[in-house]
């Protein structure tokens, strides 16, 4: 990974919600093509961290650069940045009033100005990629949770993003549907996409992560490749957390 260029870099980033110190002096680099998995107890700032990357939240101090664009509230390039960065949410957030195909094409057509026919062709290609080409004309609520989340992944892919963020993509799914979503994510990792994934799915992390990040109380406690992270975590907090979630 060291040969590749940094595509996301946090430099002493802090974020507050009122008095609550959500991100504490975060310094972190994600390189092009890197797959980073972020874990940690709830409220540790993992979601805030990745929501800062595409400007859904804005940090209060420090420098955050994504794909050469400095992220801050007044950035003129924030829309271009968001097109470069796809995001998959815990609650899918599909557009319920649009069909699956329309969910996938509305971004390219309205934001990027892609012609409809071309956008639909791309959309069908990505529906194929997430293994649900036959659901194109249905409305989201006719789909299972796992299928909805795969549509959400395809929606981000349709924007031809270079970076994909996943905010606990399997936490809202029934257990039997987690596998199908993780499979799609593993395949996506195989294409060389830069991915930052907040998840507690440690099996997935072991399989695809280049870097593991453990956060607690707004701080990055540990950053390590998965081999050392799972076998020899340095910090006590990280060890305690891993013991808890790996027990099951």
């Amino acid at each position: 990974m060291t040969g590749k260029l940094p595509i996301i870099s946090f430099d002493h980033v802090d974020k507050f919600y009122g008095d609550f110190h959500a991100l504490k002096d975060i310094t972190l680099t994600v390189r092009e093509g890197e797959r980073m998995v972020v874990c940690g107890p709830s409220g540790s700032g993992k979601s805030t961290l990745i929501r800062c990357i595409n400007g859904l939240e804005f940090h209060d101090s420090g420098v955050l650069t994504v794909d050469g664009i400095e992220v801050h509230e007044n950035s003129r390039q924030i829309s271009r940045l968001r097109q470069e960065v796809g995001m998959v949410f815990q609650q899918f957030n599909l557009f319920p009033h649009l069909t699956v195909l329309e969910n996938l094409t509305i971004g390219p057509i309205k934001v990027r100005g892609v012609p409809r026919a071309e956008a639909e062709a791309t959309a069908r290609k990505y529906l194929e990629r997430v293994h649900i080409p036959e659901q194109a004309d249905k409305y989201p609520r006719a789909l299972s949770g796992g299928q909805q989340q795969r549509v959400a992944i395809a929606r981000s892919l349709c924007m031809e993003s270079r970076i994909m963020l996943f905010d606990e993509p399997t936490s809202a799914l029934d257990p039997e549907m987690i596998g199908e979503v993780l499979d799609v994510m593993v395949e996506l990792a195989g294409t060389g996409m830069t991915m930052v994934v907040v998840t507690h799915e440690m099996g997935f992390a072991r399989k695809v992560a280049d870097t593991m990040v453990f956060m607690d109380a707004g701080e990055i406690v540990e950053t390590a490749p998965p081999e050392t992270f799972f076998t020899a975590p340095k910090s006590k907090r990280c060890r305690a957390f891993l013991d808890q979630i790996l027990e099951h």
Binding site: N93, K110, R155
Partner: protein, 281 residues
């Protein structure tokens, strides 16, 4: 529950039914009969009272005010013409009110202090002036200044008055769309305007349809107030006919019934529309 009771009941034993009295009171027949008795009683009282006053009922003279058929052919009557005026007046005012209400709601939700301030100022200003006074302001003050006639003074009054109520309906409907929808729209690079137009507003329609119907009915009813500046709509026509014929009882009953028919038709229409909308999406 006491422990002495058996833990199970024999299979297939029917549960005790409701008492015959409860069943009767709860039946459709009973409610229809009760309704008929109450309405009948009221009509009887009114009619009896009118008879006691020596009122001379002349219902046979009413139909000519809806339409007449003579050797000159078919002709609409005054009430029908007034009804059309009421409908066009209300419809124009309602359309304008929606536009104004949307602007107010969006300003209020913009998050910019100046815009929110303007919206709240407008809201409080209009909300705290009685409709009648607002009408006088538009007709006697703003009309001469800006050069619009009584018809447009009426439309603007109704539009402004109802835009305030509509903006609150729109605001609630927009806020009812989950925050995740905004985030999803934002995360694919949509601007705020695009997110409103393609994602949020289409979804808020189903939240606003029922209260908006109520508001449309409200506009039609409050349009009666423009009769004080003699715009020739339904209520004004009613007053004019009475001053010619002195048939106040018949005419006011008729005018009330026409308003009711209009608003009921509107409500029923929207209910049907809503059902279709609900099954389609």
């Amino acid at each position: 529950m006491s422990m002495a009771e058996p833990a199970f009941t024999p299979r297939g034993r029917p549960l005790p039914g409701r008492s015959p009295f409860a069943r009767t009171v709860d039946s459709v027949t009973f409610s229809v009969v009760l309704y008929a008795v109450i309405v009948g009683g009221l009509v009887w009282l009114a009619y009896g009272g009118a008879q006691a006053m020596g009122y001379n009922w002349q219902w046979y003279r009413i139909p000519q005010y809806f339409y007449t058929v003579t050797e000159n052919g078919f002709q609409w009557g005054e009430i029908s013409i007034g009804l059309v005026k009421t409908v066009t007046l209300s419809a124009t005012a309602f359309a304008l009110a929606i536009a104004l209400g949307l602007v107010t709601a969006l300003l209020r939700l913009s998050g910019l202090i100046v815009c929110t301030g303007v919206a709240i100022g407008y809201l409080e200003l209009i909300r705290n002036i009685p409709l009648l006074v607002l009408l006088y302001l538009f007709y006697y003050v703003l009309g001469p200044i800006f050069g619009f006639d009584r018809y447009w003074a009426s439309i603007l009054t109704l539009a402004v008055f109802h835009s305030v109520l509509i903006s609150e309906i729109l605001r609630a409907a927009i806020n009812a769309v989950p925050k995740g929808q905004w985030e999803a729209a934002t995360s694919i690079g949509m601007s705020r305007a695009q997110a409103y137009r393609y994602i949020v507003l289409p979804q808020s329609v189903r939240f606003m349809l029922p209260p908006m119907t109520g508001e449309a009915v409200h506009v039609i009813k409050s349009s009666a107030i423009v009769s004080v500046i003699a715009v020739a709509e339904l209520t004004t026509i009613g007053r004019n006919i009475i001053s010619d014929t002195y048939m106040s009882f018949e005419i006011w009953f008729t005018i009330a019934a026409v308003y009711m028919a209009l608003t009921l038709a509107l409500s029923i229409g929207v209910t049907l529309l809503e059902k279709r909308y609900a099954t389609e999406s």
